[in-house]
């Protein structure tokens, strides 16, 4: 009987790992659809960002209350995962609480800490559900999230609460069995949280309790393996990708736009023809700006997959706040959707127009509010500006007023209609 359970466990684990790695490779391929960009410079600053922004969740603390709750969930998942290690070994070896004899009284302290964290995780997730569904915070009821994204968020929170409840139920039943000296249940001492709930289960028989304990144990670990796979298809992927995204975050000042060396070169040759190469250097016609996800950098696409759709960007966006079509969160969601679709072979569409409209791109004031707010170092502005470059330079598509502004700059050295001779008129006025 024991061996059957071990085999079942191994099969479940193998399936979970197989599907997870297959999907992870797929996501990697999708991200690598983007063009190359070298982000290997300044490793010290990058490690610092990783520590502060990802591990330390620095940006979350712009709203301290939510940050603390989110930190419970984050710390809970990271730390309780130590317990998963034991569960894995137990599952494969057919043992029960294999670490208990080695750790002695420390074991009880550890489990006690996990239990406290589990309660904090469950309570925090419940508060998050209330914020989403009862308090109806503006950024959560936004139309951005209509359909799957809204359900996704709720499924994640409910699953996390269920997993914590299963973990606590398992420990409660285990604790009662321990006090009765049941076989296979090594005595570890009363657990800190579930110890208090043991009286609730005192009336049950040993076999019922063992059933509850085993049932909760199995559901908990299967739930975790399932969740591991679910998150790769969900906004919850941020729990993994927030880390590389913080490492590869932009290090330059927010106000600096990426240079385009190809065009810098063109202009140089136009101004100083003697520097231009006499032989044509390449046959490839360079593409300016971004029309589709493959024109964006892999960091832009990593951003899209790291997005957890929290909407802090859109809540701060001046365009979104005044009812424009633009929502930076949607820019990220659409970029991810298009990357996914392109990976699946959607050839007849492009990010521009099929996913993101010109109206959205035109509404941006480049104010950097979205960039400033994002807790996981996403830069929606960079995508918007690259797409604007495509519109103007590849399609000559600009509002009439912009075309006029361009020609004013070109002819009058100022974006307005005025004579360059008037430029110092203010001195004499």
């Amino acid at each position: 009987m024991q061996i059957v359970s071990q085999l079942l466990f191994l099969a479940a684990l193998a399936a979970a790992v197989y599907f997870f790695s297959r999907r992870a490779a797929g996501i990697r391929r999708s991200i690598m659809l983007g063009r190359d960009t070298d982000l290997s410079d300044q490793p010290a600053r990058r490690w610092n960002n990783l520590l502060l922004l990802a591990f330390g969740q620095k940006k979350m603390f712009r709203n301290p209350l939510v940050a603390v709750l989110h930190f419970f969930v984050y710390a809970g998942f990271v730390i309780i995962n130590l317990e998963i290690l034991e569960i894995m070994i137990d599952g494969m070896a057919g043992t029960h609480r294999i670490f208990a004899p080695f750790l002695g009284s420390l074991y009880n302290v550890l489990i006690g800490c996990f239990e406290i964290l589990a309660v904090l995780v469950a309570v925090s997730c419940a508060i998050f559900l209330v914020r989403r569904n009862i308090l109806k915070l503006k950024r959560f009821i936004s139309r951005d999230l209509d359909g799957w994204p809204r359900s996704d968020a709720n499924y994640i929170l409910i699953t996390e609460i269920l997993l914590m409840v299963l973990f606590l139920t398992m420990n409660t039943a285990d604790g009662v069995l321990q006090t009765r000296g049941a076989a296979h249940y090594p005595v570890t001492g009363s657990f800190w949280v579930t110890g208090a709930f043991q009286p609730l289960l005192e009336g049950l028989s040993d076999s019922t309790l063992a059933g509850i304990e085993r049932g909760a144990w199995w559901l908990h670990i299967l739930g975790i393996l399932g969740f591991l796979n679910y998150l790769t298809w969900s906004k919850h992927l941020h729990i993994i990708l927030a880390f590389p995204n913080a490492y590869f975050a932009r290090l330059e000042s927010n106000g600096k736009m990426e240079n385009m060396p190809a065009i810098q070169q063109e202009v140089l040759y136009a101004m100083q023809p003697e520097l231009a190469p006499t032989e044509p250097t390449g046959t490839e016609v360079p593409k300016f700006g971004a029309k589709d996800v493959a024109d964006l950098t892999w960091k832009n696409l990593l951003d899209a997959y790291a997005c957890t759709e929290c909407g802090r960007c859109s809540a701060a966006c001046p365009a979104t706040q005044t009812g424009k079509a633009l929502s930076p969160r949607l820019i990220m969601m659409k970029t991810r959707d298009r990357s996914e679709a392109l990976s699946r072979g959607e050839q007849d569409k492009t990010l521009l127009r099929d996913y993101i409209t010109e109206e959205e791109l035109r509404a941006c004031t480049s104010c950097n509010a979205c960039v400033m707010e994002c807790p996981v170092s996403i830069n929606p502005l960079d995508i918007i500006l690259q797409m604007r470059r495509h519109l103007v330079m590849e399609e000559s598509s600009a509002p009439q007023e912009w075309t006029l502004m361009f020609s004013n700059i070109e002819n009058n050295m100022a974006p307005w209609k005025s004579s360059p001779d008037e430029r110092d008129a203010w001195i004499h006025a």
Binding site: S253, G255, A319, A369
Partner: protein, 260 residues
């Protein structure tokens, strides 16, 4: 006003302490010209040896670049850098955060390396050095002032404190809007929006910001950017409070209240 150009300094074989980059709005727009004159007056009165480029100055290319026209931006940058390098310019001060951002962050990799300072930071330094002394009981003493962070000074370049430090010298009561500092709401002009009609929505960004500023009860909205100045002035007008609430650049406020 007696203001020397870079060319005049050059002809005399001299170098000014700093180049005052006026910017297009500051040169052409009538309201912004007042800011330019106020700042030039401060520079003159503090004995700062400064020059302007005059007719040789051209748009930095910021709006073209943000609208997507990289060619035009590179053209403007190429020419401006040639002019600046030709005069051996080392230090630039400007009253426009957009020019400031472009000159400071975008010109270096194109060959234009200068120490670039925004005029609010420059004013703070003049005050700290004692070169600007304020009158006792100036015209802003005890008055409520709110400060609007421009995006290109604030979030783009992390400058939040210098303008506030300058305002403190006015002995006024500084009241903050709810959206201030790194959370400041844009005026709606950045990213080349200044030069086109706003996309359709439920409200105009500058109306929203104007309302927020007026609701603080401040008599003066302090700005640091000629585009914000235009947008906020219209925003205040929309609330019907343009007679009781003034939008002023920080340089204008200092010029008004500094000792002779």
């Amino acid at each position: 006003m007696q203001i020397k150009t870079m060319a005049e300094y050059f002809a005399e074989g001299e170098t000014p302490e700093v180049l005052f980059w006026v910017g297009c709005a500051g040169s052409i727009d009538q309201r912004s010209q007042k800011i330019t004159r106020a700042f030039a007056e401060i520079l003159t009165r503090t004995g700062t040896r400064f020059a302007v480029l005059g007719k040789e100055e051209a748009c930095t290319g910021d709006p073209a670049r943000r609208a997507g026209n990289e060619f035009l931006f590179q053209m403007m940058a190429y020419n401006n850098i040639a002019v600046l390098n030709n005069y051996g310019v080392k230090k630039i001060v400007t009253a426009c955060p957009h020019c400031f951002n472009t000159l400071k962050n975008e010109y270096p990799e194109l060959g234009g390396q200068y120490e670039v300072v925004h005029h609010t930071t420059f004013l703070q330094q003049l005050i700290n050095e004692g070169r600007i002394k304020m009158k006792e009981g100036g015209s802003f003493k005890g008055k409520k002032i709110t400060y609007h962070d421009s995006c290109y000074l604030g979030r783009a370049n992390g400058i939040y404190e210098a303008p506030r430090a300058v305002l403190e010298a006015l002995d006024a009561e500084l009241v903050e809007m709810k959206r201030c500092g790194s959370r400041g709401l844009c005026c709606g002009a950045g990213g080349a929006q200044m030069f086109k009609e706003e996309e359709k929505g439920t409200n105009r960004i500058n109306f929203e910001r104007g309302r927020e500023a007026v609701d603080t009860g401040a008599e003066v909205i302090a700005a640091n950017c000629p585009f914000c100045m235009t947008m906020l002035s219209d925003g205040v007008k929309e609330t019907g409070k343009e007679d009781s609430v003034k939008v002023l650049d920080i340089a204008e406020m200092i010029a008004r209240d500094m000792q002779e």
